[in-house]
Structure formats: C-alpha cells, structure tokens
Amino acid sequence: MGRYRDILRGEELKKELDKLQTWLGKDRAEKQQEYKRVAKPSAQRVKLDREPVLIKVFNSANGNLLLSGRIPAAGQSGVGSAVVTTLRSVLSGRFIASGGTVGSTDVVVDSVEKYTFASLSLLQYVSTDENSASRITGRLYPKNVFNTVSGNFGRKTDTETYFAAVADIKADNAFTQFDDANDGKNRFSFKPEVG
C-alpha cells in the first residue's frame, strides 16, 4: 500500500511512465539522435594535444616503476587552454616530461595491460542552460556546461600513497586558486589508478 501522497501522484506518475516507455521503445537511431541533442556541440568541446610523459605508478612492488603516459601539452590555445595551464601546474612534479631525468633506481616500462593511471579532472564552469530538456522525460532542468580537462598523475616519491598524493595536490596553490575561482561553481574529481 502506498502512502496517500503517493496515490495522489498516481496520475502524474503514469504520464511519466508513459514517457519512459516511449523512450524505451525507440530504436537505435532515434536514441542516438537524442543523445546527440543533449551532448555539448562539437565546437564548444575541449580538444587537447597531449604529450608523452613518464609517470611513477602507486601500485608497484618497489615504488620505482615508471610507465609511459600522456598528459595535456603546454602552450595550447582554444577551448579549455586555461584549465590545461592550471592542471599542469597542479600536477607538476608528478610526471617526467619527455627528455627529463629518470632516477637511477627507477624502472621504466612502456605499458602494462589493463592499467589506468590515477587522474585528476578539473571542470571549469562556463554557463548554465536553465531550460535543458531531458532526453527521456522531457522535463526541463538547469544544466551546467563545463570545460573539463583531465591529467594523469603518479607519486612524487617511491613511498607516497595515493591518499597522500591527493592531500598534497589539495594543498597546492594552483589547486587552491582553482578551488576559489568562479564562486564555487568549478568542480573537480580524483580518480584512482586501476591495475
């Protein structure tokens, strides 16, 4: 038995259910079109050049394993370039640029199957679309638009843990400035390594 307030919403919910079933009944091409409709236009997307680097992974037996990775390259222009500058500053010391000095005890490996680096994503607030329509229910909702830039990172020392690295990044000046900008509308995400 539902509560009285649930019963009162029955008619409204039935209409919502009908919309959901209409969505489920759409074929592949129709769904694909709806996904495209709500996706950020291509011209407004961040498109990055990336450069090869070496990154010291967190999960290694002796803490001295460097893997080949890629991070957003310096000196870019276009959508999201300011975020790239911030990200590179925040992650400085956590990657070795091409031609950089590798420690004498470090082990360099090109790649490890199914391994994914830890990464930091910075989402710089751009604008809010107050009347974005859900592709499924058609409901209008405010949708924030961000320029998102992600970069891989590793440990600075052979013994630094993932959580210690996150705490260190959190205290970094460039990160703090990003944290303070845009009236708290920017966002960020730390993602642990896989493998």
């Binding site: 996904y35 959580f163 708290g184």
Partner: protein
C-alpha cells in the same frame, strides 16, 4: 571530456569507472572532498569485485546518492553501447 573517445556520436569510456566516478564542487568542506575521493576508490573496488554491490550501494546512499539511479544511468549507457556495437 578528454578522457573519452568519441565514436559515432556516443561517448565511450576507456575505463568503466568513468561512468560511475563522482566529482565535487570547489569550496566544498573537507568531509565532502574526502567522500568524493573515497567513493571513487570504492567505485574501482566495486567494479573489480573487491567489495560487494550492497556495500558499494550503502556507501553511495550514505553520501546522499541513490545507488539504483547512479548505477542505472551507467548501465543504461553501457546497454546502449552493447546493443549498438556489441
């Protein structure tokens, strides 16, 4: 979006966790910051079978995220990909 590769109009993550990771508003208090960090670690653990689904779901719910809705969105996207290109 740099972590995604565009493929025929759909976004395909190289890592399934990308569909489940959460982010955090700037200026958030420390407990929210660390909850985001821990939830993303838990997402990895869940996807690799190191913690059961109910523990992961409880953790999401504890931080105000509806687990069914959260995982459902990711599943819907994957389901679409499988049906289209699988």
């Amino acid at each position: 979006m740099s972590v995604f590769a565009e493929f025929k109009g759909l976004w395909i993550p190289p890592n399934a966790g990308e569909l489940l990771y959460v982010n955090c508003p700037t200026g958030a208090p420390d407990n929210v910051f660390w909850a985001m960090v821990e939830m993303n670690v838990a997402t990895n653990d869940f996807l690799h079978g190191r913690i059961p689904a109910d523990v992961y779901g409880d953790m999401l719910a504890q931080h105000g995220i509806d687990p069914v809705e959260h995982v459902g969105d990711a599943w819907e996207h994957l389901d679409l990909l499988f049906r289209h290109y699988g």
